[in-house]
């Protein structure tokens, strides 16, 4: 038997929907949400304004370049974050100030090199004033030597 559209209710037919659903649907008009006319008007006004704006690509491009300081700052912030994640974390991979001979590690040869430079009368780089007393001397050599023999935190001692 063909009943045509199943959503069409015919006279005399009982509803096939569950009773709970029917009850809920019948109750729906009683629960109307009140929307103040002011809100309706505001939404309408905002929609009109939005739709009235031209949407050509030239304007979009102009908007992007008008905000270039923001984009630049965002890019720099991203680069900074990337650097924080990939930067070397100490040890021998970073060139330390004490690594005088630039061989990637601080050892007694660095202290020895600075001692030789001081002994031969060469003027060492001001950056080698490791204790910050204003002069590069044997005390700075000692600081490097102490650094060279320092036991690592992860060591057994």
């Amino acid at each position: 038997m063909n009943h045509g559209d199943i959503n069409t209710r015919r006279d005399g037919e009982e509803s096939q929907a569950p009773e709970k659903l029917v009850a809920a649907l019948e109750e729906l008009p009683a629960r109307r949400v009140f929307v103040p006319p002011v809100v309706d008007a505001a939404v309408l006004l905002a929609a009109h304004r939005h739709l009235a704006k031209p949407r050509d690509s030239v304007t979009g491009s102009f908007r992007f370049w008008r905000n270039w300081p923001v984009w630049t700052a965002a890019c720099l912030a991203m680069l900074g974050l990337v650097y924080l994640f990939i930067r070397p974390t100490g040890g021998t991979s970073a060139i330390a100030r004490e690594d005088i001979n630039r061989d990637g590690r601080v050892d007694i040869l660095d202290a020895f090199q600075l001692a030789r430079e001081l002994g031969s009368g060469q003027k060492p780089a001001p950056g080698l004033d490791l204790n910050g007393d204003g002069v590069v001397d044997s005390r700075d050599v000692e600081i490097i030597a102490v650094q060279a023999v320092k036991l690592g935190k992860g060591g057994r001692s």
Binding site: N101, D107, I108, L109, A111, F112, Q113, A115, R116, G119, E142, A145, V146, A148, V149, K150, L151, G155, R156, S157
Partner: protein, 141 residues
């Protein structure tokens, strides 16, 4: 980097539960004058076998002062020692020379075993030179 391992033998006649031993550290720079060295000494079977009690300098004038070391190594089983000398080449040792002595506090129960790693040796110009480090227990006279 050279690596040397060794084992100390118990001194006869020592009855105390704890005893002290001296281990002489040598660096052999062959024909080259030795101006700087850095090495790591460690007791490989734990601090219960031996603990470092003190460190003194070597036999030659160039290395007679105690080497640089981390004071935290005392009473532990691992130390890095290093020294250099800016003396004239004629005052630098050649061949096998005692560069330091490490004093150990040892247990009579466990025989200490140790490892010696020469990290670097250099001549007067700071150039790395091939060398070998060895350790030998000093016998009582």
């Amino acid at each position: 980097m050279a690596l040397t391992c060794g084992r100390l033998s118990a001194q006869p006649g020592a009855d105390a539960a704890v005893q002290f031993r001296a281990v002489d550290i040598y660096v052999d720079s062959k024909e080259q004058p030795l101006a700087a060295y850095q090495l790591e000494f460690s007791v490989t079977n734990g601090a219960s076998a031996a603990k470092i009690a003190g460190i003194e300098g070597g036999e030659s004038l160039a290395f007679s002062e105690p080497p640089f070391y981390d004071p935290r190594a005392i009473q532990h089983e691992r130390v890095i020692i290093a020294a250099f000398s800016t003396n004239a080449v004629s005052n630098l040792p050649k061949g096998k020379t005692r560069v330091a002595t490490i004093h150990l506090q040892t247990s009579r129960v466990v025989e200490p075993e140790f490892e010696l790693k020469l990290e670097v040796a250099a001549d007067l110009n700071g150039n790395r030179i091939p060398a070998q480090a060895t350790a030998r227990e000093r016998k009582a006279q």
